[in-house]
Each structure stands twice: as structure tokens, then as C-alpha cells.
């Protein structure tokens, strides 16, 4: 128990230290830095840090901690950040289930939460909150883009597939909400599944003319590798998660030609994005992913609000956040009433540029898209 006491004293000391400088904003970042999903958390963190570095901001104190993709650990870290680090703002969570565990109680304690990635429908709808801002997207949004673009491509008989968990159900529903063709088949796979031979055989037998998948992270890598070897050659549409820059190098040429919906792309033509992509490459030696762009935007949103209001005045700071007076790397940025973005959803194609596999914009799915769950939000 001795270690515990010493540690407790250390935590107390840290707490007092934090309070020393009142005009500082303390930001707690809870994100996934270990295990199979670490790539996403690392990108959000690096993008966020890059924005601070580029702005030479000295008024932000950033505390980062690894949630190991475990909800109960994320809750515990959030409590520590709120109660002993006395953070004003929390951010960083990658996964919907972790966000659902942390966000409702954090915002109820008057902490601001800015989501750089997860956008579960509950937080966009009935459980929306003035302290909760989603800087990325509501979960369904990009899948809806994929559905809309599938019509434009003339697909009439799609086979759709996602893991059997709520984000997977949301993905299939999002796609179906906009897709006007027939469904050749609909499949749930297991979360974390690594072998897709059985699914590929069913797709082959279904007579589909196209495939929609939502298989984030390692699941997408496995599926695409096996799909490439299967001899099947149907076109694939998807959302950016399955074809994001963090996994594209691992998927390799198997991903070439896939269409995926995204609010951002490394080749998006605006000044903020050009500066971001080149600075990111210089700092970290890789092409930034969607997640890095969202981390970058989140930090810049905070900086823009900090220039206008003191974070201890929550009302003023929230108002400053709502102005969204920052140069988003995705171009124009505006809030819907539920404090989720209204944004343009692009269609990207996976291409090879100078020996690197990356995404390139080839079309637009929606000019101004907002999520459907906002209508259940009382704000």
C-alpha cells in the first residue's frame, strides 16, 4: 500500500501544479495507443500535436493517455483527467463504444468533449449535449455517401457486408438509406474476423454487380487480400474507414480502384490542407490519414475558440466553438444544430502515386450533408 500512498501524493502534487496557470487550457486526450487499433490513435494524436506545433501554441497543456481500446479503462482515465488533472476539454476517443462510456458523464460534469473520430447515433440524437461537439462525422454519414454514389455509378444489385455490432448495423442502414438498387445479399461477419473465404464464396454465388463493405482496421486488410486472390472482380464501394491511409500500405495493390466516401482526402485542394499534408509528411514521414486530419482539425478548432474566449467561461467558450472560425483541412465547415458537422462528402478512389498507395478525389456524393439523427436532438 506504500506505493499507493506515494502515488496518491504525486497525483495531488500534479493537481496543484496544473492549477498554477489559470489562462492555460488543459486538454485531456484519451486514445488508443496500444494493441491492434493503435494506428488510429497514434494518427489522431500526431495530427493534434502537429496543429499545436504549427501554431506554436503555448496556451494548451495536452495530457495524452492510452485507453488500450478498453471502455472501463477509458472511463477511469477520464475520471482522473477530470478530477485530478482538472482538464477543461476531453478529446481523442476512437471507438463508438468507448465514447458512449465516457462522453455522457463527462459532459454532465461540465467538461467539453470534442470528438475527433467516433460519432455514435445516440450522441447525435436523443443524447446530444451542449458540451459535446463532433468534429469528424456522425457514424452513418460516410456510408450514406457510399450508398448515394453507388446509384451514380449505376450499380443495381449490391452485396453488403459489415461486422455484427452496432457500428456495423449503422453502416448497412446508412448505405441502404440512399442506395436505390436491389440487394443481392446482406451479411454480418464476426467482429475481428480474419478469414473471409466463406463470405467471398457467397458473394460469388449471389450474382451481385457490386459490393459494399464496412470492415475497419485489420478486418479490411484481411478481406481485401483474400478478395484479390479469389479471382472475383466486382467493384467495391465503401466508406473511408476501410480504406484509410493507416492501412492502405498494408493492403497494397489489392485496394486499387476501390471507391470510398470521405469528408477529407490528402489531395483535397485548399491551402490549409496543402500545408497540413506537407507538414505532416515532414514531421512523421508518412501520408496523413483521415484520422490525422480529424485530430488536426480538432486542435485548430480549440485554438480558434481559445483566441476568442476564456475556457473557464464555458458559455462564452462554447459560443466561440460554435463559430467554428478555423481553416478546416476539409474546406468549409459548419455545425448542424446537434453540433455535428454539415459537410461535403467526397468520393475517393484508391490509386498509386509515386509508388505509394493513397486516395484521390474523383467525385462528390453530397454537397451539404447532415446526419439524420439530429432531428431527435432537442437542442
Amino acid at each position: 500500500m506504500n506505493g499507493f500512498k506515494t502515488a496518491a501524493l504525486a497525483a495531488l502534487a500534479a493537481g496543484t501544479f496544473t492549477m498554477a496557470k489559470a489562462d492555460q487550457i488543459s486538454v485531456g486526450m484519451i486514445t488508443t495507443l496500444s494493441g491492434g487499433g493503435a494506428g488510429l490513435g497514434v494518427d489522431v494524436r500526431d495530427g493534434f500535436q502537429l496543429a499545436l506545433d504549427m501554431a506554436e501554441a503555448d496556451n494548451i497543456r495536452l495530457v495524452v493517455e492510452d485507453d488500450a481500446q478498453r471502455p472501463e479503462l477509458a472511463v477511469q482515465i477520464a475520471e482522473r483527467m477530470i478530477q485530478s488533472e482538472r482538464v477543461d476539454i476531453l478529446t481523442g476517443i476512437i471507438w463508438s463504444n468507448l465514447a458512449m462510456a465516457v462522453v455522457p458523464s463527462a459532459v454532465a460534469q461540465d467538461i467539453l468533449y470534442l470528438s475527433p473520430n467516433a460519432g455514435p447515433s445516440a450522441l447525435a440524437g436523443a443524447n446530444c449535449h451542449p458540451n459535446y461537439f463532433n468534429v469528424a462525422w456522425q457514424n452513418d454519414m460516410l456510408h450514406e455517401g457510399a450508398g448515394a454514389y453507388a446509384n451514380e455509378l449505376g450499380y443495381e444489385n449490391a452485396f453488403i457486408m459489415a461486422p455484427n455490432y452496432p457500428a456495423g448495423t449503422d453502416a448497412l442502414n446508412g448505405f441502404k438509406r440512399y442506395f436505390e438498387g436491389e440487394l443481392a445479399g446482406e451479411l454480418f461477419t464476426q467482429v475481428g474476423q480474419t478469414d473471409y473465404a466463406a463470405e467471398i464464396a457467397q458473394i460469388r454465388a449471389s450474382g451481385a454487380d457490386s459490393i459494399f463493405i464496412f470492415l475497419p482496421g485489420g478486418m479490411g486488410i484481411s478481406f481485401m487480400r483474400q478478395y484479390e486472390q479469389s479471382g472475383l472482380d466486382l467493384p467495391i464501394v465503401s466508406a473511408a474507414f476501410t480504406f484509410s491511409q493507416d492501412i492502405l500500405p498494408a493492403v497494397g495493390s489489392a485496394a486499387l480502384g476501390v471507391f470510398n466516401a470521405s469528408q477529407w482526402s490528402p489531395d483535397l485542394d485548399n491551402d490549409a490542407n496543402a500545408a497540413f499534408v506537407s507538414a505532416f509528411r515532414e514531421a512523421y514521414g508518412r501520408i496523413p490519414s483521415l484520422y490525422a486530419s480529424q485530430g488536426f482539425d480538432t486542435a485548430n478548432l480549440i485554438l480558434s475558440a481559445a483566441a476568442k474566449a476564456d475556457v473557464s467561461d464555458r458559455d462564452a467558450f462554447r459560443a466561440a466553438l460554435r463559430e467554428a472560425d478555423f481553416a478546416s483541412v476539409r474546406g468549409d465547415f459548419a455545425w448542424a444544430a446537434n453540433q455535428h458537422p454539415i459537410q461535403k462528402v467526397y468520393i475517393r478512389e484508391v490509386v498509386e502515386v509515386d509508388g505509394e498507395i493513397t486516395n484521390r478525389i474523383v467525385g462528390v456524393a453530397f454537397e451539404e450533408h447532415r446526419d439524420v439523427h439530429g432531428e431527435n436532438c432537442p437542442m
Binding site: G36, Q229, A250
Partner: protein
């Protein structure tokens, strides 16, 4: 649902089963000879895949990568055996579970520190790309090659154990440890060799499967659990049991995922059937394992009484 689709799924199940066999063979060998439960077996699988990917990327040659993966896993296995595992043979299963659980944490973080948090690229070798026509279906050549690899390793293991001096010692070690020590066999070296052999099999499986899956930290754990299911069903310590168990698990898992949603669709509406079917399919092999243990508490092929 055509007969061709059924046959293709059956083939998929067999291929999946043979990959599981590569994982399970090492696990069951180590248990049979040394009486050790090794949870870190999945980490050796991961090491095989990572080294194969790294070397294949550096040299542009998958086969060099494969050799590197097997060698690295065997070397890591031998090292782990000498430093840690050796102290656990006389301990109870609880200590073994704990110590090898600790090894998972160490090896996973270690691999991440070396290779970084992003998945690695490893592709199928050129000669095994594409498909071949098998009667009525086009089947992935690489998957067919995996079936070949699995069968070849099974045959090799059988020959090793029945025809070689090492095999005789392994069999003797399984039935009576004190006796072979008394006969002057260097039991320490034998144990290190057996452990490294098991590790090499895991590394081989990791490298082969890595070409069509995601090479990432934590890739070993789901396979580890499946491999345990396999050897428990087959009877721990029995190579034959591992083969039967692996094929059972491979085929039942594949067919379950394929057929259950269709079965439920006959009396539920489509999306409900899909959800219930998928949920039940994911529980199926654990159900199988529980059933086998209830009726045959030592598995289907209990090793030596």
C-alpha cells in the same frame, strides 16, 4: 444454394482447419512432451508473420521472408524456453498460464516497439496468385497451396515422430520423463528443441496466413484461443487429435457462418435471421468444445490414458 457453393465452402473449411492444425500441432506437442500450457504460442505466430513481412519487404522475395519468419519464431521460442519456460515445467498449470500470459504482454508490446503501430504489408508470392479451376468452382491458388502446406507439414510431423531418433525421444518423453533422463538423453536440450519446433510451426502458420490477413500486433490471440479449442477437442497432447479437432473446428465454423443465417431465414425475417444466425455462428465452436468435454472429458483422442 448450389452444390458447387456447398463444396467450395467445405473446401474453405478444410483449408481453415489445416491452418489451425499448424498452430495446434506445436501447442499440443509442447503439452504432450513437457506438460506445459503455452498461452504465448500466439505471440510466436505473430513473430513469424512480422519477420516474414519485414524480410519480404526488404528483399522482395516472399520465400526468403517465409524462411526468416520460421527461423525467427524458432529462435524466439528457444530463447523463451531457456530464459523462462524451463522454470515452469515443475509448476502447476496456474503458474504456467500466468507466466505465459505475461509473455503475451511483453512480446506484443515488444513487437510494437520494434515495428510500430501500423499493420505491415505482406503479399502472396507471384507464383501462387490467381485462381485455378476445380471442376465447377474457381478456387484461390494460394488457398489451395495452404491446403498443400498443411498436409505436407502433417506428413512431415508424422514421419519425424515415427521414423527419427528425435521422434523416438519425443515419444519416450511423452510417456515417461524420468526414464529417458535415466537413459542418458539430454532432457534439457530435448525440451528446448521440442519447444523451438512448436514455435517454428507457429511461425510458419503466421507467415503463411499473414499473406492473406492483416499482419498486426494482437493477431495471435484470436488464433490462440481457436488453437486451444482445437487441442482440447482433439485431446491435449495428441497430434492425431489436433488434426481431427482442427478439421472439425474449421469445417463447423465455416459451415456455421454460411448455413445458420439461412436456416433461421426459413422462419424469421431476413435481417433478424442474419443477426441471430451470425450470433449463434460465433458461439458454435465453443458450444462444440463444451459438448465434447461433457461427453469425453479428456477430448476425442486422449493422449496415453
Amino acid at each position: 444454394m448450389t452444390l458447387a457453393l456447398m463444396l467450395e465452402q467445405l473446401l474453405n473449411g478444410v483449408q481453415f482447419g489445416l491452418m489451425l492444425f499448424l498452430m495446434s500441432a506445436g501447442l499440443t506437442l509442447v503439452f504432450g512432451v513437457m506438460g506445459l500450457i503455452n498461452l504465448a504460442h500466439g505471440s510466436l505466430y505473430m513473430i513469424g508473420a512480422f519477420l516474414c513481412a519485414a524480410v519480404a519487404a526488404a528483399t522482395g522475395n516472399f520465400w526468403l521472408g517465409l524462411i526468416a519468419g520460421i527461423a525467427a519464431a524458432a529462435a524466439a521460442g528457444a530463447l523463451i524456453e531457456i530464459v523462462v519456460i524451463r522454470r515452469l515445467y515443475a509448476r502447476d498449470h496456474l503458474d504456467q498460464v500466468l507466466a505465459t500470459f505475461a509473455l503475451i504482454l511483453i512480446l506484443s508490446e515488444g513487437v510494437r516497439m520494434i515495428f510500430g503501430p501500423f499493420p505491415l504489408y505482406l503479399n502472396v508470392p507471384d507464383v501462387l496468385r490467381g485462381t485455378v479451376r476445380l471442376g465447377v468452382v474457381d478456387y484461390s491458388l494460394y488457398r489451395l497451396a495452404l491446403i498443400g502446406f498443411g498436409l505436407a507439414v502433417a506428413l512431415g510431423l508424422w514421419a519425424l515422430i515415427t521414423k527419427t531418433r528425435l521422434g523416438i525421444r519425443i515419444r519416450a518423453g511423452e510417456s515417461d520423463r524420468e526414464m529417458i533422463a535415466a537413459l542418458g538423453v539430454n532432457i534439457r536440450a530435448l525440451y528446448t528443441i521440442v519447444f523451438a519446433l512448436g514455435a517454428a510451426l507457429a511461425g510458419l502458420a503466421g507467415a503463411l496466413v499473414g499473406a492473406i490477413q492483416s499482419v498486426q500486433v494482437g493477431m495471435g490471440e484470436p488464433v490462440l484461443i481457436l488453437a486451444f479449442v482445437v487441442i482440447v477437442i482433439g485431446g491435449i497432447g495428441s497430434i492425431k487429435g489436433a488434426m481431427v479437432g482442427a478439421l472439425l473446428v474449421g469445417v463447423i465454423d465455416t459451415m456455421g457462418r454460411f448455413l445458420l443465417p439461412r436456416v433461421f431465414a426459413t422462419f424469421l425475417d431476413a435481417s433478424q435471421a442474419m443477426g441471430v444466425g451470425a450470433a449463434l455462428a460465433s458461439m458454435l465452436i465453443y458450444l462444440l468444445m463444451a459438448l465434447v468435454l461433457i461427453f469425453r472429458p479428456k477430448g476425442l483422442f486422449p493422449a496415453h490414458g
